[in-house]
Symmetry: C2
Subunit: 228 residues, 2 copies
DNA sequence: GCGTTTATGATAGCATTACTATCATTTTTG
DNA sequence: CAAAAATGATAGTAATGCTATCATAAACGC
């Protein structure tokens, strides 16, 4: 049994995958497969074949593959939220806490052996290329009512609060927070696939610190501007 | 025959839909249907039923529905590019040209009767909620090689050039351009569906000018910051 | 330890999707 | 007016996204 576990919204699943061996196998292999095949090519049939269980068994855990994706994505943001809290303990300066957030948003994650069935590195790649598919659907509103986007919104709220703390007069803290969060993911994706949309170089060793500088530059200059 | 037409990349289609009545019907009704149903629920079968033509006939124009989406999205960015050129004619100040770009990115579009089979208002809503699906696929790289993202990249390049013109020392003009272009769309979507991620209010009459202020604030403050 | 929930396996089936193929008919055009 | 091109009509096929049923195995309650 894992040392660390996140309690995720129970609307995400029919049966909690963390509670059984099969459930954990479903998570572990779906992370691997979505990373390899992409979410669109990923199917419960293929997943079943890979873990040697019938498709129908997977449907006992997740209503459909979209919920499974939401589960993975929610896991990611819950985990990031946890890491932000951890990192910012006893850090007094709001500016420093904000910088830490940006750092954590961008930072390349490593596999955390505390949670053996979750590969955080693969998960981050999934977030980079599949995240927006969670809410760009006809079910946004009902999914939202069920609280399925709370982990992401939570992190956004946290970043927005820091912005507000640094400059209480700034009018768009949530918009700025969601903008840089999205950009953090997209710039990485662009660097890999659509390089003319970014100045971040795929091969650069400083890639991640460049991206941090870029985002940090936006946030700090935007909120600390003298109101003309 | 339309007065105005855009020449789009011929890799997008098998037969040019602008060249025939059926083709134009395909475009007109797919814009309507994708706007109504969302891209995921949209199928060639349903489209065929709606225009009274067999599914197979549509496949003679477009290889698959993803290409059709790309066609619509490419149309949008080509059209926006054209409008930017038009608006910025004889405008000397780079700052003003940049502001015009942001304005045009955000501005609510109206139906342009010059192109009777293209409803720009619906098209803009499609871009807001479906754009990223064009490149968040396993085919990004091959699609990119075929030049299918050129119109979007073109607008991004134009905005980046203006940023560079205003501050030649700024290190991330393309990243900043793509960030605000993406944000322009997302903030509108958030306002409608995930309001806690934005400060733009759905019902506000000043909604669009608020969003312009937000984006303008980011860009100007970011690039005109004195290098500390 | 025994009976009963509970979870999984095995297999089947079904409507829809995303195409492809064929052939007849209409329209265009050289 | 004949040949070519575009469309219609219809069929078919593999894969997807499920749902249903029944048997078996594991766990759990007393």
């Amino acid at each position: 049994m894992p040392i660390l576990a996140f309690k995720l919204n129970s609307n995400l699943f029919l049966r909690d995958p963390q509670s059984s061996e099969l459930g954990q196998k479903i998570i572990e292999h779906s992370v691997d497969m979505v990373d390899r095949l992409g979410f669109d090519e990923f199917t419960f049939r293929k997943l079943g074949a890979e873990i040697g269980s019938p498709e129908a068994s997977i449907y006992r855990y997740f209503e459909n593959k979209h919920r499974l994706l939401l589960y993975l994505i929610d896991w990611y943001w819950t985990w990031l939220d946890y890491r932000i809290e951890f990192r910012n303990q006893n850090v007094k300066s709001a500016a420093e806490r904000l910088r830490n957030c940006i750092q954590l948003l961008v930072e390349e994650k490593a596999f955390d052996p505390d949670i053996p069935f979750m590969d955080e590195q693969k998960l981050q790649r999934i977030v980079n290329s599949e995240f927006e598919k969670t809410y760009l659907t006809r079910n946004v509103d009902s999914d939202n009512k069920e609280g399925l986007f709370l982990p992401y919104k939570g992190v956004c709220k946290k970043v927005a609060a820091l912005i507000k703390e640094i400059n209480p007069k700034y009018m768009f803290p949530h918009s700025l927070a969601s903008t840089i969060m999205l950009s953090a993911n997209h710039q990485v994706y662009y660097a890999m696939h659509l390089p003319s949309l970014t100045d971040i170089k795929k091969d650069s060793k400083r890639k991640h610190s460049e991206l941090v500088d870029f985002l940090q530059g936006i946030v700090i200059n935007t909120i600390s501007a003298r109101n003309k």
